[in-house]
Symmetry: C2
Subunit: 474 residues, 2 copies
Amino acid sequence: MMKVWNFLFLVTFIISAVYCGYVYETKTFTTLLDHFNFVDDRTFSFRYLVNNASVSNDKSPILFYAGNEGDIELFAENTGFIWKIAPKLGALIVFAEHRYYGKSLPFGNESYKDPQHLGYLTSEQALADYADLLKFLNPEEERPVIAFGGSYGGMLAAWFRMKYPHLVTGALASSAPVLQFPGVVPCDIFNRILTSVFKVALDRNPDGTPQSICIDNIKKSWTVLQNYSSNDEGRKFLNQKFKFCTAMNKTEDWNTFYDYLQDVLGNLAMANYPYPANFLADLPAYPVREFCGQLNKEFPKNEELINAFNEALQIYTNYTQKLTCLDISSAYASNLGSKGWDFQACTEMVMPTCANGTTDMFIPKKWDFKEYSDNCMKKFKVIPREMAAMTQYGGKRMDTASNIIFSNGLLDPWSGGGVLRSFNEKVDVIIIPEGAHHIDLRADNKLDPASVKESRKFYLEKFKTWINEFQTKM
Amino acid sequence: MMKVWNFLFLVTFIISAVYCGYVYETKTFTTLLDHFNFVDDRTFSFRYLVNNASVSNDKSPILFYAGNEGDIELFAENTGFIWKIAPKLGALIVFAEHRYYGKSLPFGNESYKDPQHLGYLTSEQALADYADLLKFLNPEEERPVIAFGGSYGGMLAAWFRMKYPHLVTGALASSAPVLQFPGVVPCDIFNRILTSVFKVALDRNPDGTPQSICIDNIKKSWTVLQNYSSNDEGRKFLNQKFKFCTAMNKTEDWNTFYDYLQDVLGNLAMANYPYPANFLADLPAYPVREFCGQLNKEFPKNEELINAFNEALQIYTNYTQKLTCLDISSAYASNLGSKGWDFQACTEMVMPTCANGTTDMFIPKKWDFKEYSDNCMKKFKVIPREMAAMTQYGGKRMDTASNIIFSNGLLDPWSGGGVLRSFNEKVDVIIIPEGAHHIDLRADNKLDPASVKESRKFYLEKFKTWINEFQTKM
């Protein structure tokens, strides 16, 4: 009887693990809650996924995903490139989950209870977690380690190499906005690139309409939607039309809706892949084109514009036709830890954004640190440390970095805060003109643009070079 | 009246500041108590000394002393090299005091009260203090910064460059045992070098005595002193002879005395300069030679040996003839923070030592981490983190480091844990055969050996190169 249970357990395990075709063991690693205080001995456990199918000996390379703000399984499923190359490198695959995300909650359900519990959610602590895990997996430092990640995970991968070069041989930082910090890049860069993606989304517009028709309609929508939000009758119309889970009932609800819509537009651009994907949401191929396809002509009447905008929005919210009501409290799927990221943005990851309504399609809004800070105080009782990340990791001067590939897709609004120019011959910059947010880390797809295919070839060769150099030095 | 007070204050200030001939302003900088927890907003102030006499413009270089375990004025007074070269570089001089030492006590008199108050005493926090101070002094990062330091201060200078290369252009790490950690160098290396320094201390011995007479006598003293310590009569003799401030009254007191004597021998070697100095104590020129001069023959009777040993010891303890009683609780001057360092050694700075009695002159003793750890638990209620420093900073692999000079005097027992071989062309290793502990940082002296003079010339040229490279990249 016992054996049957074991067998059933094993089957269940295998079924759950091969979801999406990737097989991994789920393990946990126990480390210090606070790596920077030597009298605090509290520990916690974080999750990591391992696949050693390609490992031939105890000096095999390690491909190490520096987990970012979400459930690590989500990232494992969306990082097909690594699964593909591991056999070619004979490498161990490790996906480490970032503390406070997924199932790696230091205080369980109380992790997000108050600022005191949240205080250990920092990038420095996360990197120290990863360093500890690597020392455990590679105690003699005999195995070359390649860190990689996308977005904030890419930032972590690059910083991991920069701060712990003795543990990390090289890093692939995909779509990593390591420069999106105060005083380094202009605050409107994100919205400017985002707008340009929507501007060129339609291959061709119906006769007579300007190419800017989509962003013109989006711009016009702000005025119209805000007007409708400002009175009972208008809100009644919007509630019926958009089917909000929580009905709008006061003028200020517009702010929530607008914040949500900005996030949706950003996410559409980030996930603007040439094939259907379910990264930030279930989306069709080229979702920005699909979105703009609903807004490709002039709408003489405001209600027509709202109708069309609602149709467009459903590309993001309801592509799978399962929507029962529209939850505008967050534009992110539940397996992305948006609350944790909000906290990080309110402490260390201060990334200024602004809009001017001219070179971008948004309502003009200056970057106002005071307002931002007040908001953080209200939300988390913390004051953001505007300069913390740049003091810790450096922005303007990164010329000592080595063995890092920074890759950016130009369709990705985050590319504005990415490294687009190399500062020495040991740092490679890869530009993917047709690429959205870390498309290069994804699995091969027959619709991949040539630049993505080329970049993946380059990465593999570069990884081999780093591994060779490491082994030569042993 | 007010003016008179101001004037008197100013005079007092100048008098105190020009002590030893170096003029500086004493300032304080307020920063975070915990740089790695973003919900803890507590701050504290640390001291730093500044001299801007050579500064010509707001892009002048900064010479930054990464303060170590002691009163920063002590280090300022013993780092004459920097005072000499600042005018040649047109540089600002900054000596930053390490948290928990000197007057930079985060919790005032309560800083050492218990482990909770001591928890913020770590090298990572100290480096983050220095990073914050540099961001304040050099907000636009337009000024090249050269960090320097000796001993633990040298370790901090090297690590500062390695961890914050965007803020630190280059580093001079003098006598910095960055490799004196578990699993990197053998635990007996310190005592082996120390013994060899005593072995060759005497230019020539009286006819017929072997060159090893000094260390033979030291070795024999352990047996004799331990025997005397083990009974009332013997202890009475020792108490009369050594004039302990707290009389020995039980067999175990030998352990305290032996620990003290080991420290004294180590300090004699570290401060074995060719001229009188008052770094670790008021000492004559070549104090090891002086010490051994008292032990340069055979002593048939034990009491004669003890007499001679006492005479020898007074080279360290009573060179200024002011000793009223011998305090064996610490071999360090009160302006060196030995308690703080004890705590650091019990947390992060685990530097194994051992003796075998054969290749060294000490009582054989294995490195026993368990015993070491138990001792730390007793003293500070902490468990040492054996691997912390090497995980954080790296030991075996430092090949990505650049713009660092590691210098070591071969008369310095700490040189065994220093970097004695360069790992790339951007790291320079300077060996000073006749040098003791960071002699190269001291002021010029006509008795300086040629190797010290040469090394100082090399440093200045290298600093100029780094500064030029920095300015070229601007």
